[in-house]
Each structure stands twice: as C-alpha cells, then as structure tokens.
C-alpha cells in the first residue's frame, strides 16, 4: 500500500511493484478517474430513467418553466433565472478550484489556500440555493386538485396563466383537521399535509367565478402548452376530484406527474449529496494546505485529485440543468 501513502517525493511517481506509471498517471489520480467513471454511469442511469419515464408520459409531463419560477426577494413569474444563477455559482467554484490546482503546480501555498476557500464558499452557496429551491418546490405556489385516477388539474385565468388557490377560493365556514392515524381511522391517512382549502370550497368558488378555468395535464402539441378546459368539461373533471394538493411530496404534487417530483427529489438530491461530500473533502484538503502537508510532500497533487471530483460534480450539474430545466 505504499503507493497510497506519500512518504517521500519519488515514491509518489510510481505504482507499487513497478517502475512505470500506466498512462503516465499516478495511482491516486487513476483511482479518482475510476470512481468518476462509475459515478458518471450512475448519474446517467438516473437521468436515462428520467428520460424513459418522461417519454412514457410525453403527452402529460409537467413543463419545467411553469414549475421553477421563484427568485429570492421578488414576487412574480421568473422562470430559469435562479437556476441559472446556481449554475453560474457552480461553474465559478469550478474555476476557483482549477485556479487552486494551477497555483498548486507552481507551489504557491497562499494562492492555493485562497482559491480553495473560494471554492468551498461557492459550494456552500450552491447547497443553500438548492435547499431554497427544494423549499419552494415542496411548499408549492398555486395548488391544484387531484382526480381519483391520480391526474392533476390546475387553475388558470382568462389568459391561461396559472393562478393560486388563494386568488379565487373563499373559505367557507367549515372545520377540517389533519387526519392522522392517531385521531381517525387507523388505516386512513391524508395524502399529505392538509391543504389550506377543502375540495368543496375550491369547487364552489370555481363554479362561482367565471374568470377561473381548469387546465389538464395533457399537452397540446400544436402549441406545446397544457390544455385548458371549457367550464362544462371542467365540472366533469371536478366531479372526479378527490383532494386538494399544495406543493409536492413523494406521493402527490401540484405540478403533475408524481414521478416528476420523485425524480426531482432523487436526482437533485443525489447531486446535492455529491456537492455536500465535495465540500467536506475540500474542507479537509483546505486545512491540509494550511498545515503545509502538501508543501512538505513537495506536490499539490491531492488538490488536483479533489479538483477532479469537484469538476465532475459541476459536469453532472450541467446535465441535470439541461434535462430538468431546459429540455
């Protein structure tokens, strides 16, 4: 195992048992590439599974820029801006990482320290942004009703823009408490947290307001938009409605297909976990740099190796960004 323990400078250049380095790469770097390749295939497996399910439900998959529309401190409909900011942050932290590697090649300890610190900060900003994105996704914006066959129907105004339940539903004088196993039938549970309005209130308000329309998940491929129903059709839909949904969980969400939220949670969550572990590793390396470990070792190759991992996380995000937010 002497090849993994850098005792002196010459030892690091060769693999144990031989004087030659395969592909002119050190043992550690090669192993990092092995890991990255297997991880790349794992992520592509997830994204391909997302693609499979999306193609399977091509005519009713949620439209991303109607889902991710939040920007901090501003109210309104701003698709993509925030996630573009997240992408930018991650690319920038990749740049500081590669600058740290570059400074390491020149044995400039101070520069490596600063760039590593900036990389860690970038990673933390990204993670925080992702938490915020999840918060918005989970809490929801508009609310919707779910039909007995699991379809989601959303509410739009005359122009076809989605409107929130709170914009048109007036609260009736009814009391409804969260149904849990402890206070109701033990085998009956609410699908999620109790929505702010009951189904009856929503249906009554919908019928009373001529400017509110119902929209199905079905995509009209001529305009690539969701189909808006006539009032008459809408009432047939609402007669099959079973629940009001607000936000998203793993079983039901207001955006449409359950699988959409499941994949969102799983893939961005798995990526976020990679960012998290990347930050941890970066912090360890950061302290090693400060302590002068690599200065003594005579090589900053360890920075290069964690750099590979960090860039890989960035690379994965580029694809997640494309497949969840753009395509």
């Amino acid at each position: 195992m002497e090849s993994t323990v850098a005792t002196d400078n010459s030892n690091q250049e060769v693999w144990s048992g031989g004087g030659k380095k395969p592909f002119a790469a050190s043992y550690g770097k090669m192993m990092m590439w092995f890991f990255i390749m297997s991880d790349a295939l794992t992520f592509s497996g997830f994204l391909v599974a997302y693609g499979l399910m999306r193609f399977k439900f091509l005519e009713s998959w949620p439209i991303a820029d109607e889902v991710f529309t939040h920007v901090p401190f501003i109210h309104g409909h701003f698709p993509m801006y925030y996630v573009a900011f997240m992408t930018f942050i991650l690319i920038f932290s990749s740049v500081t990482m590669v600058l740290a590697v570059d400074a390491g090649h020149q044995m400039k300890k101070a520069k490596v320290t600063i760039y590593m610190l900036l990389t860690i900060i970038g990673g933390l900003i990204f993670l925080g942004s992702q938490a915020w994105e999840w918060k918005n996704f989970i809490n929801g914006t508009y609310g919707a009703v779910v039909l007995q066959d699991g379809k989601i129907a959303q509410f739009v105004d005359n122009e076809g823009h989605q409107i929130a339940l709170s914009d048109f539903v007036s609260k009736a004088n009814s009391e409804r408490v969260q149904h849990t196993r402890s206070n109701g039938l033990w085998y009956v549970k609410d699908a999620g947290e109790l929505p702010p309005y009951t189904l009856n209130e929503v249906v009554t308000s919908f019928n009373a307001n001529p400017d509110v329309h119902l929209r199905t998940e079905q995509i009209d491929f001529d305009v690539k938009k969701k189909t808006v129903l006539s009032k008459a059709e809408a009432s047939t839909y609402l007669s099959k409605a079973t629940d009001v949904v607000m936000g998203a969980n793993l079983k039901v969400n207001e955006y449409g297909k359950t699988l959409f939220a499941d994949f969102f949670f799983f893939i961005t969550g798995f990526h976020g976990f990679h960012v998290f572990s990347g930050i941890l590793i970066n912090v360890i390396i950061f302290f090693n740099v400060i302590l002068g470990t690599y200065e003594k070792r005579g090589s900053y190759e360890m920075v290069e190796k964690v750099g590979l991992y960090w860039h890989f996380v960035d690379l994965v995000w580029v694809f997640v960004f494309t497949f969840f937010y753009l395509v």
Binding site: F23, A24, A25, W33, I36, M37, A40, L41, S44, G45, V48, A49, G51, L52, M53, R54, F55, K56, L58, E59, D65, P79, M80, Y81, A84, F88, I91, S94, V95, M97, V98, L99, D102, H105, Q106, L147, T216, D222, V223, K224, E233, S235, T236, Y237, S239, E301, E304, G307, L308, H311, F312, D314, L315, V318, F319, F321, T322, Y325, L326, V327
Partner: protein
C-alpha cells in the same frame, strides 16, 4: 502532470470560464423566450430548441472535461479510455431507453382517457 508543471494557465482558465458563462446565458435566454420557430418544430424526435440545448450542453461538458479536468493534458490513451467508454455506454443506454419510452407512450396513450362523464 504530463505537461509543464510550472507554467501557469490562468489566462486560459478565465477564457474557458467566459465561454461557459456565455453558453449558460444563451441557454437561459432561449429557455425563457422559447422562440416558436425553434420550439414548435420537430427534428429527429424532438424540437430544434431541444437539440440546441443538447449541443450547447455537450460543448460545456467538453470544456469542463478538457480544460478543468485536464483531460487535454493527459496521455491520449488515458483520455480515450475514459471518454470513449463513457460516451459509448451512455449513448447505448440512452438510445435503448428512449426508444423503449417512446414505444410505451405509443402503446399506453390510447388507454388514457382525458374526458370524464359526470
């Protein structure tokens, strides 16, 4: 570190950063505007807009892998061992799964009803 270990590449790094930022901004602009002339088209299974996104994504991936992950400076054999393997396996899996997904959609869609009786 097959290349000259003491040469600094900062200029190149900032250039790549500029390029990646520009590509991201272009993607976001197209994603927000979604021009009908690209969005409402059909070419090889998806819209031209989606093809644009895919190509720009691959360009970004290329620059990250080649310049940030230093693949450009690795031995050609190592680079090929990594890139060709991943590209082949991912293309293979993607092709099979998307064809399968399209097929399931074709079979399933007629059974999904979008009208209800009161």
């Amino acid at each position: 570190m097959a290349h000259d270990a003491h040469e600094s590449h900062t200029g190149l790094i900032w250039k790549v950063f500029g390029l990646l930022s520009v590509i991201t901004i272009v993607e976001v602009i197209f994603g927000i505007i979604k021009p009908d002339s690209l969005h409402l088209t059909q070419f090889l299974g998806t819209s031209l807009l989606n093809w644009l996104f895919l190509i720009l994504t691959l360009v970004k991936a290329y620059y990250i892998a080649w310049y940030f992950m230093h693949l450009k400076h690795e031995k050609t054999s190592l680079r090929r061992a990594i890139v060709w393997t991943c590209v082949f396996l991912i293309c293979y899996l993607t092709t099979l799964m998307l064809i399968e997904g399209g097929y399931i959609q074709d079979m399933l869609a007629p059974y999904i009803s979008w009208t209800y009786n009161k």
